[in-house]
């Protein structure tokens, strides 16, 4: 404890100070560093410092073949690995003009949507834990574990032109069981979290992202849809088998942390609908098109956008006509979503920074790539 006599007038006036939140911090979802400038408890400025888990995926892409790069995209956003894998395959297929069999598209959609639910469980429940509620987090991980078991069972990682393995009877039945189980659980989550006064007080009107700010910062995904903009790549630029399914894009008008949380929960239900429709109408047929062992795209470039659990991802691939990509650029949604913190945090309390950061749900390895 300081002796009050040793504090002179000058240091009493010196109220503004900086706090290092992270890089090792339980609520930063990985190795991330927020440099917060505070006046007492009130945030004046937030500067995210990133790059701690940079692995150079984009440079790696430039010295290996398209096939050898196949495991990498799933390591960028490790929470939506299947979706990234799907997107990368789509980008290369677009570049080469490969037609994918419908059954393969359906399997990809099923795995992507299962992965989206798993990711939203982390996004929403980790957010609740950031606000001090430990039970929803454990419940969420319990449900998530069922998805991971299902995905482990098939490991039908995408390949160019289709998927590697067909889905099995166990996977089919297991997914059906999981859909029934999860539909029954939403009510529990509703009761557990949505009625909780602490949760509401900590989320409502905290960290409001307006439509203008979203446009300035290129915010996408559930973070954007919480601000009342119904932008979803699955609807706006339909890819894969998505146009064949009916589903809605949930939005909330408020733009605060609560709205973003609600959008994630509502999206899980929509993903269940998509999976159910895909299982109902799973077409027979081949699961992989005839593709050479090593693809050689023609000279040119292509941009392939898709919706991950965090927003609009894009693979920009430049080909020089060889079997090795000339350049691969990944548009990471977390990168843009994170930068918006600098705009919305000032004026909030320090504790709210944790809430806002949790509600935006970024994955750090995706930002750093």
């Amino acid at each position: 404890m300081l002796n009050p006599k040793t504090i002179d007038d000058a240091s009493i006036d010196q109220r503004v100070y900086q706090l290092n939140l992270g890089p090792q911090h339980p609520s930063t979802h990985g190795v991330m560093h927020l440099l917060v400038t505070l006046d007492g408890e009130v945030v004046l400025k937030v500067e995210p410092v990133i790059g701690y888990s940079h692995r150079g995926h984009e440079k790696m892409a430039e010295n290996r073949t398209y096939e050898q790069f196949l495991p990498n995209p799933a390591r960028m956003d490790y929470l939506s690995g299947m979706i990234f894998n799907h997107g990368y395959c789509m980008a290369v297929e677009k570049l080469c003009g490969i037609e994918v069999p419908r059954r393969a598209e359906y399997i990809r959609v099923i795995t992507s949507e299962l992965n989206r639910i798993a990711s939203h469980f982390i996004g929403a429940m980790d957010y609740a834990m950031g606000l001090g509620a430990i039970t929803p987090f454990l419940w969420g991980w319990d449900d998530r574990e069922h998805i991971l078991d299902l995905l482990e069972g098939i490991t039908s990682y995408g390949r160019f032109g289709g998927v590697r393995n067909d889905i099995t009877r166990e996977f089919y039945d297991g997914t059906r069981r999981f859909i029934d189980r999860l539909r029954g659980r939403f009510w529990d989550y509703e009761n557990l979290i949505n009625q909780n006064i602490i949760f509401i007080k900590r989320s409502q009107d905290v960290g409001v992202i307006t439509k203008e700010v979203a446009l300035d910062y290129g915010v996408t995904g559930p973070t954007l849809r919480g601000s009342g903009v119904g932008y979803d790549v699955r609807k706006r630029e339909p890819y894969s088998a998505y146009p064949e399914f009916t589903f809605e894009i949930p939005t909330r008008e408020a733009g605060d942390c609560l709205a973003r949380y609600q959008v994630r929960m509502a999206e899980m239900e929509q993903s269940l609908n998509i999976i159910e429709q895909a299982l109902d109408h799973l077409p027979p047929g081949p699961i992989r098109a005839k593709v050479p062992r090593f693809v050689t795209p023609p000279e040119g470039d292509c941009y392939c956008a898709f919706e991950s659990a965090r927003g609009a991802v894009g693979f920009y691939i430049v080909s020089d006509g060889s079997r090795i990509p000339y350049r691969i650029k990944v548009r990471a949604p977390s990168f843009s979503n994170l930068f918006v913190l600098t705009e919305i945090c000032p004026g909030h309390f320090l504790a709210d920074v944790i809430a806002i950061f949790g509600s935006i749900d970024v994955t750090v390895p995706e930002i750093d790539r």
Binding site: G51, K59, R64, G218, Y303, F335
Partner: protein, 164 residues
């Protein structure tokens, strides 16, 4: 499957871009093949005017990136709308080594980070950027990793080596 056929909004944006940047070359591209509808080839001078126009038309800046072609760079700007009729406009700036590009951060604040990333990986310095420093790589490194003459590229010239 479907998407955004060249619709009326695309015509509108094309017409206004012709007015705002008359020197630019506008190319229609096949969305199914390359994932964007309109490619705008321009020199750096027109970029801010174009960004302003895109902002007024409620486009968001999807990404900024560069491609190193050894003698010159291509700076790539991608714009997309949140609107119902979604389409993508790409601006491609051919950047000779002596030219310094302008920052568009006053129009799109997001560009502060996107341009820092381009600087970090390619060493391209943006004129008028408020805080141009490393973002992902450590502050004290002296290389630009995504330049083609950095490190080992195309580590294997013969694919058959991998097969055996």
């Amino acid at each position: 499957m479907p998407t955004a056929e060249p619709t009326k909004p695309l015509e509108n944006i094309r017409n206004s871009l012709v007015q705002v940047i008359p020197e630019a070359e506008l190319l229609d591209r096949d969305y199914q093949e390359c994932g964007y509808h309109l490619e705008v080839r321009l020199v750096m001078r027109g970029m801010r005017r174009m960004a302003r126009e895109m902002k007024d038309r409620r486009f968001f800046l999807e990404t900024i990136t560069a491609v190193d072609f050894l003698e010159y760079f291509h700076l790539i700007y991608l714009f997309t709308t949140y609107n119902e009729a979604s389409f993508r406009v790409m601006a491609r700036v051919k950047l000779l080594p002596e030219v310094r590009p302008f920052s568009v951060w006053t129009i799109y604040p997001e560009a502060i980070w996107l341009e820092r990333e381009v600087y970090d990986f390619f060493g391209i310095r943006f004129e008028g950027h408020p805080d141009l420093k490393r973002i992902i790589n450590p502050d004290d490194v002296d290389y630009f990793p995504l330049l083609k003459n950095f490190g080992k590229t195309k580590f294997t010239t013969d694919i058959d080596d991998i097969l055996c």
